[in-house]
Point group: none
Chain length 244, copies 4
């Protein structure tokens, strides 16, 4: 093996404020901050992120220029998270462009989350099951409201709960590496498109229930299969969107 494959890649000194931008973007993508929410104040963010206010401010300016937040000044001011506004045509376009990356991420999600469901069922802990059950009932409630009157807010709420559910399964797997991988991989499927109503899939709550049932029953195969179907369902929905 004489060809030295020295994979040394260029160093990119990443500015602190860029890291802040990335982290805030990721938090919004992951649904930790939903459209309409206010981000923490500059001072709070500075403390949480352990950087100076100036650094936070610089990051905020970037996010504002991107249109992901709106800055409101004064006593009642703050940074208001904006919805990623895409028309259905744009979404289709974006999905087509990122098709490869999205399906790559989805395929990887199957590996990670099916394994997570399996481990969770093998190592079932009471507290994990309790957490999952409570998330399911919250999602049921949110979905009912959403389906009744399609207000966007509840859609965002549902999305956040859905995110939390999948993370809770990863936590239940009791493998920290797996947990982290799940958390960082999930948003990659949705990030290019943003939050949109059609992610509210009709049968997802049945899948969720089946997953928890499998975990609670200590049946790894059942839990794994339910998760696999769940993600396959998502894949089909995206497929339909692209073909539409």
């Amino acid at each position: 093996m004489s060809d030295r494959n020295t994979n040394l890649e260029p160093i990119r000194q990443i500015a602190a404020h860029e890291l802040v931008v990335e982290q805030l973007r990721r938090a919004m993508d992951a649904g930790q901050f939903r459209p309409g929410d206010r981000l923490p104040s500059e001072r709070d963010l500075a403390e949480m992120l352990e950087v100076s206010r100036l650094t936070v401010h610089t990051a905020i300016v970037v996010l504002e220029r991107e249109g992901r937040i709106v800055v409101r000044r004064g006593r009642t001011g703050g940074f208001i998270v904006q919805p990623l506004q895409h028309s259905p045509a744009e979404i289709r376009q974006i999905l087509k462009i990122h098709r490869a990356a999205v399906f790559d991420a989805l395929d990887f999600r199957v590996i990670l989350e099916v394994a997570a469901a399996r481990r969770a069922a093998e190592r079932r802990r009471k507290k994990d099951i309790t957490a999952l059950r409570s998330l399911i009932s919250l999602m049921d409630a949110a979905m009912e409201v959403s389906l009744a009157n399609q207000t966007p807010h509840n859609v965002f709420e549902f999305e956040r709960l859905d995110s939390n559910f999948h993370e809770a399964v990863a936590v239940a797997s009791q493998n920290e590496s797996l947990h982290r991988a799940v958390v960082t991989t999930r948003p990659k499927v949705w990030a290019p498109v943003g939050s949109i109503w059609w992610r509210l899939e009709e049968n997802s709550h049945e899948h969720h229930a089946a997953i928890v049932d499998g975990i609670e029953a200590g049946d790894p195969d059942a839990a794994a299969q339910a998760m696999e179907e769940h993600i396959a369902n998502t894949r089909q929905n995206i497929d339909k969107w692209i073909r539409r």
Copy 2:
């Protein structure tokens, strides 16, 4: 869900020379530079990493103080990679301390690499199989030499080939996310300990062959099972070391 779980983590601004240190450390851990090898010259590293020579120099000083390289001046000079020198007792100690992290990483490796083997068998491509076969024959050769006269150099060579083999399986899975996860996860098992001879496991070449056979036969279950046994074997070896 009133408890806002804002997972914002502190920003860690990393100095450019630290990034250089990390990248060189990782390259040495991954076997790209083996003990006894010379790193590229300061000038070349600066160009490859797209930083100034001063930055490279600072990084080199750090690595020298860590004892991971030795700086030799003059005509035959350069930065000579040193073996991580741990006594068996130290290794045991280190493994005990990092026990949780090591087994967490191993468990995650099972998930990732078993899935990779399965996907590789499902999606078998000629070029992947050719690459895997050639790596196996190189490893056979290296092992013979190593077993004959236990020179460390060939051990390192074997390690590097082993690394390449596992990455080649990941590549054969044809999922980029999975590939990247495998590459970043593997070193986490060994990083705390460094390269040591006992990683030369007697039966590993049988496992490797079985994995490639499964992939070539288009038999996902066989490939997956072989990979699972292979990693389980590693786990047992580590277990034995800790108990010793």
Copy 3:
């Protein structure tokens, strides 16, 4: 010319409320608000100046401490403009201190306003002449009243008209740069002293008339000469005051 004459002057960042103070002071100096007048309400000023009420309030407090306005509360309340109260001795003192600056400004005024009168005569426009004539008749009226019963109020009125007259000549010159220079330079002569009765010069109305006659006749030299005499007259009056 190796001595780099980099005329970079220190930046003076001016607080918004200071800008408000300055603008109100200048408006009072220019006679837009005369002693006894009420400034617009805080709310109105905030709207006109496009700042918050707090900022206006801060400015008002400053002006009150300076004694330039009195704040009266209640139904008939408001901000009452006060006359700048200087005794003749104080005025003489002030003039002596600012002597150089005042004569420098007067000299510059000659240049600007003589040129303005000349240009106005060269480029005479009906509407300018009409405006000048109407100002002259208003000044005549104000002067008669003032001379009859020396009430300060009409003195201020006269001053304001005098200001307007000189600005009208500048406008008639139809050179915008010149116009702006005249407007900013005139107050510099009087600013240190404030508004005082002796500015009511007996022969000024004759000068004014001569200036307009020159302009109307399209006689640049006549207009210029009249303006020159007019300002020379002012200079003599100031001189007398200082020597007194």
Copy 4:
């Protein structure tokens, strides 16, 4: 006069870094920093302008985005002033657009600088004449070089000397207000266009000489007339450019 003409204009809080931008732009327009020159370092500018380095830096970023300077890093780095690069067609276009403002400024320049020449002749001081003579000889030298080989650098040099000459006349007028007005008005004629070779007018050195002769002879009319012809010449050149 019942119509209260309360000329209160909106307060514009001007950021310190904007003031820095303006001042540096003006200094470059005025020829204090010529294309190819290096501005003072951030640290020096901060000290000269009495602001923090951050404020200077922010201003520099703006000027860089405008393309007026280029930033070079490292030991030999700094801020390199760029020439305003306009094609003759663009210059014509720009001049047409700003025609009114340019001629307004030119007209005002006649007033100011003719008066300055006149005052200088009336109040002639030895040191002023010495300064003017030395500037003329420097300009002669620069012009010879420029005409010989039309290198841009000498053109910029000539421009700077030309600027200095006119300022020196203003200084010789011994009126500070006039001096300041001349300095701020001259660049307004050229600012929209930038530095270009055709400002090198063939007969300008004769005019310059005539102006100084008039001043030295104590002949205000001669000095004034020479200055008037000089600026009229500039006006004609611009006129020709627009019509071309």
